[in-house]
């Protein structure tokens, strides 16, 4: 069973004060997310990611289209007991402590009273919010609020979790912890749907991604497929800043970064390149088949409209 089936969800807002005119935030979107996968919803700011999430959460009503979540109509309020949601830049009742907030949300999600206290302690521990007893949320930093947001999203042990820009406001360590948490959720059999514009996070975490731009779905696929090997090319990396003339003769495109050199050259020149480096007594670090990065795929999809095939925008 698919965890999420989006069947032509579309949103058009009326904008303007006197003369209202339609502005399409999301073109008819068709998307399926399988159970147990981490799915990345990628796009630059204003692409339509948050609008899609808000429609799935019932916060914004679609102009047309429908969706199914965990096999049920997405408008069924009871299905929300099995869903967790972290909004972008979450803000909570600042007069509450994190314990009170989670207890309240636990009540609303129908977590039994006997389990609530234990669950609250568990999730706070899990997101790294310790020693915060009695501290009101108004005194939380942005990163702590983000952690509290993640805690409330997983508090009721949902089958499906929606994260809108989950890494926002987190330091590198925090981002790493959230990545680990998302992987743990996957191992527990949960489905994770998260929106981001940080491609390295998506590349490291996702089984599949969808790319959206200007309200239009530009591409969907498994990360492995999208970052497939470029036929017939290898990347050679060596220590130092020296580029031997023999390497240039092999047709290598070389780039010096710090104290390493990266060269891309035809696969059939691989052995000759190794010999050239040996002759110059240069330390070889790595030889890997060249892969298209997710970033390259992302930029390509953003620049070309699937409906017209023409270049429509510039890279982010």
């Amino acid at each position: 069973m698919a965890a999420i089936e989006i069947l032509g969800l579309e949103k058009t807002y009326m904008v303007g004060f006197w003369r209202k005119r339609p502005k399409r935030a999301l073109q008819p979107l068709h998307l399926t997310v399988e159970e147990g996968e981490i799915f990345g919803f990628l796009g630059p700011n204003g692409a339509g990611k948050t609008t899609t999430l808000k429609m799935l959460m019932g916060l914004v009503f679609p102009t047309s289209g429908t969706a199914r979540i965990l096999g049920h109509e997405w408008t069924d309020p009871e299905i929300k007991a099995q869903i967790g949601f972290l909004p972008e830049q979450p803000y909570f009742y600042d007069y509450l402590t994190a314990h009170e907030l989670l207890d309240y949300y636990g009540q609303l999600s129908g977590v039994p009273a006997k389990d609530r206290k234990r669950r609250v302690e568990e999730v706070l521990q899990r997101v790294g919010l310790t020693d915060i007893k009695g501290v009101q949320l108004r005194k939380f930093s942005k990163g702590m609020l983000q952690r509290a947001g993640i805690a409330q999203a997983i508090l009721h042990n949902p089958k499906l979790v929606f994260f809108d820009e989950p890494m926002s406001g987190l330091d590198p360590l925090g981002r790493r912890e959230v990545r680990d948490l998302m992987e743990q959720l996957k191992q527990e059999g949960k489905t994770v749907f998260f929106s981001t514009h940080i491609l390295s996070d998506a590349e490291a975490l996702c089984d599949r991604v969808a790319i959206i731009h200007q309200g239009e779905l530009r591409g969907v696929g498994a990360v492995e497929d999208l970052t497939s090997t470029v036929q017939g090319k290898v990347e050679v990396v060596w220590q130092g800043t020296q580029i031997p003339a023999s390497m240039k003769a092999l047709g290598a495109e070389c780039h010096v970064t710090g104290d390493t050199v990266r060269a891309v050259l035809p696969e059939n020149q691989q052995d000759a390149a190794i010999d050239a480096l040996r002759r110059e007594r240069i330390r070889l670090i790595a030889i890997t088949p060249l892969r298209t990065s997710l970033e390259a795929y992302f930029v390509e999809k953003l620049q070309k409209s699937p409906t017209t095939g023409k270049t429509v925008g510039t890279a982010v």
């Binding site: 916060l59 914004v60 007991a81 949601f85 803000y91 409330q152």
Partner: protein, 258 residues
Amino acid sequence: MSPRIVHIAANTFREAVRDRVLYNLIAFALLLSGAAIFVGQISIDIERLVVINLGLTAVSLFGVVIAIFIGIGLVSKEIEKRTLYTVLSRPVRRWEFIVGKFFGLAGTLVVNTFFMAIGVFGALLYVAHKFSKPDALILVALYFIVLEFLIICSLALLFSSFSSPLLSAVFAFSLFVIGSFADDLRGFASLAHGMTRWLATAAAYLVPNFSALNVISAVAHQQPLTSQLILNNTLYALFYTTVALSGAVLIFERRNLK
């Protein structure tokens, strides 16, 4: 009642109690009751009348200010601060949210009125040295004040469901003022002619009739209140509140939370 409504109401009550503005208003109400004592002491033989009039008016006015001040932000603040997102993404119906918010604010005002009433009775005991049987009518006046709060809460929620806090405050205060003169408006309608009569009659019956709920002067002058009046006012307040709350729910059910 759905347990979610109870939880939302309890959280709304907790928010109000932790709101420092609420404490300030209670302090002001107590201060006014203190002033009642002072005025009572400098009045000759009408201390009781002055204390009841001033005390109950203070309870009413401060309650109205609290009802409007908090009521107008109940929905709009949650939308503006996006706290609503994590509530409505749970198995909470939109109508449950509105009704829960209403009961939370109504509960806050009942508790608030209870403490202010203690202040009024304390002031009365201070000036009159003992309670007399007609003083029980003060409880009826307080009950009517609470009914008045229910109507104002529902109106504030109605305006809050589609308008900005500032405009909601203006609408709610305007209706409170006009509603306080509803009897005069009805009197004017009966004297007018043609279209004016029709419009004035419509307006008189559309605005909440707060003048019917104001028995402060009658209680201060120890005039009897009939059980029919109590029943009529109760039914009227419940009807008006239900209609206004239904309007708030209908609007909120269709609102996009951008």
